[in-house]
Subunit: 407 residues, 2 copies
């Protein structure tokens, strides 16, 4: 198949998770990505996790399928080269003029300055806060209220996410901004300036789940309830061999399957009669969640994960085993040679040994888009500047000698 | 400004978070959304949170700016009407033929059946697992390994997310699939079938953070480390008045600002000499995180949140107070009349009282896209079928009388 962004060129100058993850996705969708880097890399070039040799797995995983051009962005000549790359028209202007950045403080990269050079630019700027203030996933998350309802109910401390959920969501919004900008430019000829604040991503998402509206209701705001799913029945159970499983009963069918399989149907019927509540309604299961959890606990405690798996399979119970990061990794590494590879792929890298990377999770016409090669800092500097801006070997040599470019 | 998807019509038939959140975003970007609902609503029509009167805040918040068409999808006539809406060409076929669903088991909505009626359909299908199996945010999250590294380090249980992060990310991927499908169809004339499995969304995202690669390294997989940020310095502190603040020192500049402001510079210098480590390197701050946390604790414990705020403001320390869901809601409700409204907006609803809803967090040319009206189940049934399929009042009356449509 032809990838949906085949033929397009996107320029990025960014760091950390949000913007680089956007460009990784665009690369998988077929776009050529030119990554403008400072000569020694951005602030995330050595970021953890790292290999035993100290190389950043973080940077190397988020930056694949990109052509890195290393430029001294403190020099006037370097800044002009960066601007020229961002606003280049190429053979087909409709396929260029797309720029993603999280650099909010650089005067040579303001929308005004860049748009003066190319009026129909699609410019996506990722920022901390819409007022220009800083923000990272952890500070933004604290301000949403989510850590206060995450983690064990008995713990008085807020629980931070290990997952940078807001960064990832922000990255996907940047993808939307680029592609919708292209769609609009294809008909109107006009460019787009799209600004996306991480804090807005978070607040808007929580608002759209209805949780702020809920807090204004007479019953007040939601309290921390540990691993239970809000408003229905679902929580974790421990097996005889110390493993954890996540069990859910969201629909009536799943609920009946759960109590039937665990032999609890008669007990639940008697309980319903005794309490005068209909547990086929999920709100009642939620209200009785601690009692139901206690009733089901012995069934799981008496069985190993293997037995639980065997007995739940095919019953209609919606459940999953908790796996560790290492288990997922080892399973995926073992499956690497498999032709039916899924969302996680193996990738051999000179710098990072055996990598496990994510394919684009959207299967376009049945196909996972993947296959990016590792990016190396500055490796494409001369090649890209020659191709895109027509710089001669003499000129490239002079710029490298004077320290404006990596050699 | 003209919204980027102005003029386009998208049809949805879905429930829960992912697909409806995608269509909400598309609505905010200017698309007309036709939501095909079962006569009594989908499985999420009464889902919690609910108002004091039992109306679903969940459904009402995710479904705004959509025209609900209620059809008996078990009847042959109803199914044919749904197919006709999905594959309608309207005046300009390029602006129609876009369908998002999470219904994976319905034979009248398979891609094969729909594409036979309209070859250039853009069809986005959200599923649990790529193999056709079920999956919800909680089961998928358990399988990524993330709950095992979330929450207090001393707790042996995995910690589930309260936030349905994977659902939200999946929704944004569905937006990408639609818009990139439109971009491609605008040049090639060809449609797209995009399938997105929630489990793939999660596994691919974690893989692209490098965490599975990290687990294959000699040092093995990451362990739970509570509220500390991995690989740098950042954690929560408690103030004199029992509030929590998230403090980070990711860059050297932020670190120096933190120890300077808290009066710890000399202590840290002495500690560096005693331990023989350079704490200006973030990996060393991470290694010494518990010591640094202990050193900084008294400063926060001696000050109220108000004093902490006053003393940290303008110093360059990157931090945020933890807020509760209720605090965010009350602040946003108080600011509702404000003309400079941000990502959270007030919305008056007959059914749900005062709502707080999220604008589209992408500011296109400086503007938050918002302003959707509440959706009411079945309210647009006759209007949409008349407009889009040309059904007469007589025909609509007959279909309502026979129970195929809501009246």
């Amino acid at each position: 198949m032809t990838r949906p962004l085949s033929g397009f060129t996107v320029v990025e100058n960014d760091s950390f998770v949000a913007a680089p993850s956007a460009c990784l996705a665009l690369s998988q969708m077929g776009a050529e990505i030119i990554k403008i880097d400072p000569l020694k890399g951005g602030p995330d070039i050595d970021r953890w996790p790292v290999t035993a040799e100290g190389r950043s797995i973080y940077w190397g995983t988020l930056n694949r399928g990109k052509r890195s051009v290393a430029i001294d962005l403190r020099s006037d000549e370097g800044r002009e080269l960066a601007q020229a790359l961002i606003t280049a028209t190429g053979d087909d202007p409709a396929k260029n003029g797309i720029f993603i950045t999280n650099n909010v403080g650089r005067s040579f990269l303001t929308d005004e300055v860049l748009r003066a050079q190319r009026e129909d630019l699609i410019h996506v700027k990722v920022q901390g806060s819409a007022d220009g203030g800083p923000g990272v996933d952890y500070t933004v998350n604290a301000e949403t209220g989510i850590p206060g309802i995450t983690g064990p109910a008995e713990s008085p401390r807020p629980a931070n996410h290990a997952l940078p959920a807001w960064d990832l969501l922000c990255g996907q919004a940047a993808v939307t901004a680029v592609v919708s900008g292209l769609l609009q430019r294809s008909t109107t000829g006009q460019g787009t300036y799209a600004e996306i604040a991480l804090k807005d991503i978070a607040l808007s998402a929580v608002a759209n789940l209805g949780w702020y509206t809920e807090a204004l209701q007479p019953a007040g705001e939601r309290q921390k309830h540990g691993n239970h799913i809000f408003g229905t029945f679902g929580t974790d159970f421990t097996t005889a061999d110390g493993r954890s499983v996540m069990i859910t009963a969201i629909t009536t069918r799943q609920w009946r399957a759960l109590i039937d399989t665990t032999g609890m149907t008669a007990v639940v019927e008697a309980l319903q009669a005794a309490l005068g509540v209909d547990l086929s309604l999920e709100e009642n299961r939620y209200a009785q969640r601690e009692t139901l959890e206690a009733l089901l606990k012995p069934w799981f405690a008496a069985r190993t994960l293997e037995t639980v798996t065997a007995e739940l399979t095919g019953t209609g119970v919606l459940w999953a085993p908790y796996r560790s990061i290492g288990e997922v990794a080892r399973e995926a590494a073992d499956a690497t040679g498999d032709s039916a590879a899924g969302a996680i792929r193996g990738l051999a890298s000179d710098q990072l040994d055996d990598m496990l990377v994510g394919a684009n999770p959207i299967r376009f016409d049945g196909e996972y888009l993947s296959g990016e090669r590792p990016t190396v800092l500055g490796e494409a500097t001369h090649q890209v500047l020659s191709e895109k801006l027509g710089l001669s070997q003499t000129e490239l040599g002079r710029l490298s000698d004077s320290g404006v470019l990596s050699s």
